[in-house]
Symmetry: C2
Subunit: 228 residues, 2 copies
């Protein structure tokens, strides 16, 4: 008799182009309204509503009511990680939509992966953190060293708040453009928001791309090794 988990249901959920577009849009980490999602998917509001309820029933997304808007977002990191690994696979096999566009180089350099930094910069950051023994571990089981605790606290990151959360502090996420790991988890999220708060980097509107300012580049390089 059939053993193990059922991958067909999830595949089917992701397998529809409209739903896949919505999920990809939500990978920006922003919470989006049904109307916005309908726009990115190129369908009417009614159809989008139907898709969204299916995605919600499947546990891939959740919604927050706020006034007369409903904001949809991915339920948790796991969904983001799964989508990123699917993208990695798809990119490796040449499944691209509309042939790499002009924004592509920017995306490969630095982008948002649900809530943390991905792309060349994301991978370089994790490499540096490991080289400097801020983080150790193998596989998906990463951990902060004592020295790492100090370094992160110096950067103004509230580790106590992060460790209180249920989700892991450090976690790997396979980068689809670099085909190597970058840092996810609550620490990855905290670092990205620090970059944005300090004005080192800004999000491109309507895109997953992250653009570093000249000063931001310098600061980033100083912390995590030389730039390209």
């Amino acid at each position: 008799m059939k053993e193990g988990p059922d991958i067909a249901q999830i595949g089917a959920l992701i397998g529809d182009p409209a739903r896949a577009n919505m999920l990809t849009a939500l990978m920006s980490g922003k919470a989006l309204t049904a109307t916005e999602l309908a726009g990115t998917a190129g369908i009417t509001l009614q159809t989008a509503s139907s898709h969204l309820s299916k995605l919600e029933a499947g546990g891939l997304i959740g919604q927050r009511k706020q006034g007369r808007h409903r904001y949809f977002s991915l339920t948790d990191d796991d969904v983001g990680l799964l989508l990123e690994s699917l993208m990695g696979f798809a990119a490796g096999r040449g499944f691209t939509r509309h042939r790499t566009g002009p924004k592509d180089p920017a995306l490969r350099k630095a982008r948002v992966c649900y809530n943390h930094l991905a792309g060349d910069y994301g991978v370089r950051m994790l490499d540096s953190l490991v080289a400097e023994e801020v983080i150790t571990g193998t596989g998906d089981d990463l951990a902060l060293t004592d020295a790492g605790h100090r370094r992160m606290t110096e950067l103004g990151i509230d580790l106590a708040a992060l460790t209180k959360q249920r989700r892991p502090v450090c976690r790997t996420c396979l980068d689809w453009s670099e085909r190597r790991s970058h840092l996810a988890g609550s620490l990855g999220e905290a670092l990205l928001s620090m970059f944005l708060e300090k004005g080192w980097a800004k999000r491109e509107p309507d895109s997953r791309a992250v653009r570093f300012t000249p000063n931001g580049e310098k600061a980033f390089s100083k912390l995590f090794g030389m730039p390209g």
Copy 2:
């Protein structure tokens, strides 16, 4: 304009129940004929043939002609890793088919993940290899240490042959039952085949389960730490 890879096509390929069943069957690592796959999917031969050609066009599987049989198998490790991570996600969300059967405990203990060992035993093996500093690395970038080279050679593993291959020697794979990493890559494959060759373990017929013999348990525990 739409950026990045297209996950919908792959999702759709995996999203059909018949195709998902076939892929799950191929996760056993065995090459199976069209007739066998039709059987496990519960469809006629014609339908199976149509599905198989779609999966092949999508690059998920390949075929080898041998006499009047055609043997189908997953194209490479990447497909196996993707499917395993999908299973992990599905298992975590309660997407199970036919409610965990009697074989489930055996699967969780030790099973084949395409070509390497997974389940409790797989995870314990990687943990031990890292603890004994046979393998180091972070994220998905694992590497054998010098001491590791010696240990593996002592076990009779031809590392020269493994490193000649294009695919990575060491690699992590997220275990769906344990939700932690186990060892994939050509070394992971070599270790599993060593266990089978030495008679330490045997494959259950028509299943992904791997059953260790009493002697095999002892030998495994001696190498990779105590059993449960």
